[in-house]
Amino acid sequence: MTQTAQQAPAAAEWTSDELMTINAARALVGARTVFVGIGLPSTAANLARRTAHPDLVLIYESGTLGSKPTRLPLSIGDGELADTADAVVSVPEIFNYWLQAGRIDVGFLGAAQVDRYANINTTIVDRGPDKPEGRLPGAGGAPEIAANCGRVLMVLRHSTRNFVKKLDFVTTVGHGSGPGDRERLGLRGAGPVAVITDLGILRPDPATSELVLTDLHPGVTVAQVRAATGWDLKVADTVATTEPPTADELAALRALQAAGRSAT
């Protein structure tokens, strides 16, 4: 994971969002099946299929098993996902027979707020004592995706608005309040194993389950990440630097996004 001297595009040639998405795609290597949330996770999963992981099985909560979209879907209900799938099943079936049954290797989630134990809030935001709660979209599939997939990857932009000391609402449990909590709650998967952002990658400390900065994207400093995190972020003893995007990864990502734009 240390930066190499390979012929990578120069830093100015990519954006921090591209770094985030490319690293999220890389994190899918080794997975057979991924339950894909819409937005950043879907972009990353589709990029993985076009780069290092052509056999990755994409599963969407709209009921598609093995979607092979030729362009980025705008929503999880795009016809493209059904047309290119190995099988289309009902929404109850996708949740009961496939997700709940523990058949999916990786759950890939976005989030509005994350805390140090990788718990997620996508429900409401406390805007202060005299103001009404701010409304977020709600849970969607996330609570059961995080509970039942073999492991969970998260991808979201890094800011103190997103990475908060205390969630206003626990929509989805990551590691609860620390070690043993998932077992106590009967959550069968390993839970979040990486949170991939536009600045780097956080992973839970095996001893404490608390998210720790383990990787920085090229050119990002520890101080930048700590400043964008709403709690006193711990830093791993050795912080790696993620590989810069290859020309192939960048080209594939940009082609994917261009095709998505032109189709809408």
Partner: protein
């Protein structure tokens, strides 16, 4: 047995003030035309049920017809917030909106219990989440064989379910395909079922992965070509992604929203909408 009706008459007969109404379709086959007819007829004090409220419920909520929403994910898919939904929840405009909020897995199983005419369904869900603190339709049951505690969710049995499908035959048998979502369960969970279809045909076409609902499980069928716009009907239309994006600035602004509803819904007719 399903009668083939006009949209005006079917909505007027089957949907009443105060009803609990589910209008389903997971991004695909969303019954927008029927929702617009509800707005035209001013049917109000509704409890609306839908996994993904989407733009269709943003419109009904903004029109002031909804007192309660039962749901699991309330966004404009691929775009952002549902501003009319947020305005109702955050500011009570144009009226307060009570919420019964679940996860997708919970909502799907609530419909399954409803379609099975069981009072509840069991799932592995909600563990450690704050969701159960805000609803009285999540509880627990203990497995009599293993002692494990599992989540229980209360069945949903709407007064009326409205869905859009690709085809009906002249007897009123309905066929839908593509992403079939939770429509079968939502329809079978309801006391009354209204189906709008792209086309009434002499014989339903064979379709891989199709759901067929027999005429005797449906109350009324209405032919409304394009009745799912801006969502889509696989084999008939494509999703109007531009509309979803264009909705964002319309719905952000109360006046723009009202002007849009006036122009595109209220000053339209069921027949005009169908001809669109």
């Amino acid at each position: 047995m399903a009668d083939i009706r006009t949209l005006h008459d079917a909505v007027a007969e089957l949907i009443h003030d105060g009803d609990t109404v589910a209008m389903e379709g997971f991004t695909h086959l969303i019954p927008f035309a029927a929702a617009h007819e509800i707005i035209r007829q001013g049917i109000t004090d509704l409890t609306l049920v839908r996994m993904t409220p989407d733009v269709i419920y943003d419109q009904l909520i903004g029109a002031g017809l909804v007192r309660k929403l039962v749901f699991s994910w309330g966004g404009n898919p691929g775009v952002g917030s549902l501003h009319r939904f947020r305005d109702a929840v955050e500011n009570g405009w144009p009226r307060p909106l009570e919420l019964d909020e679940h996860s997708h897995a919970g909502m799907a199983n609530r419909y399954v219990a409803g379609a099975s005419r069981l009072p509840f369904a069991v799932l592995r869900g909600y563990r450690g989440s704050d969701i159960p603190t805000r609803t009285d339709t999540v509880s627990t049951v203990t497995c009599p064989f293993t002692g494990e505690e599992l989540a229980a969710v209360a069945a949903i049995n709407p007064d009326v379910t409205v869905i859009h499908a690709q085809q009906a035959d002249r007897q009123g048998n309905v066929r839908l395909w593509g992403l079939v979502g939770v429509q079968k369960e939502a329809a079978l969970a309801a006391d009354r079922v209204l189906v709008t279809v792209e086309e009434i045909v002499d014989e339903l076409s064979p379709q891989a992965g199709a759901v067929t609902l027999p005429a005797w499980a449906i109350n009324a069928v209405v032919e409304v070509p394009g009745g799912a716009h801006p969502s889509y009907a696989a084999g008939y239309s494509v999703r109007d992604n531009d509309f979803y994006k264009a909705w964002d600035p319309i719905a952000r602004d109360r006046e723009k929203f009202q002007a849009w509803i006036r122009e595109h819904v209220l000053e339209n007719t069921a027949e005009g909408a169908a001809a669109r």
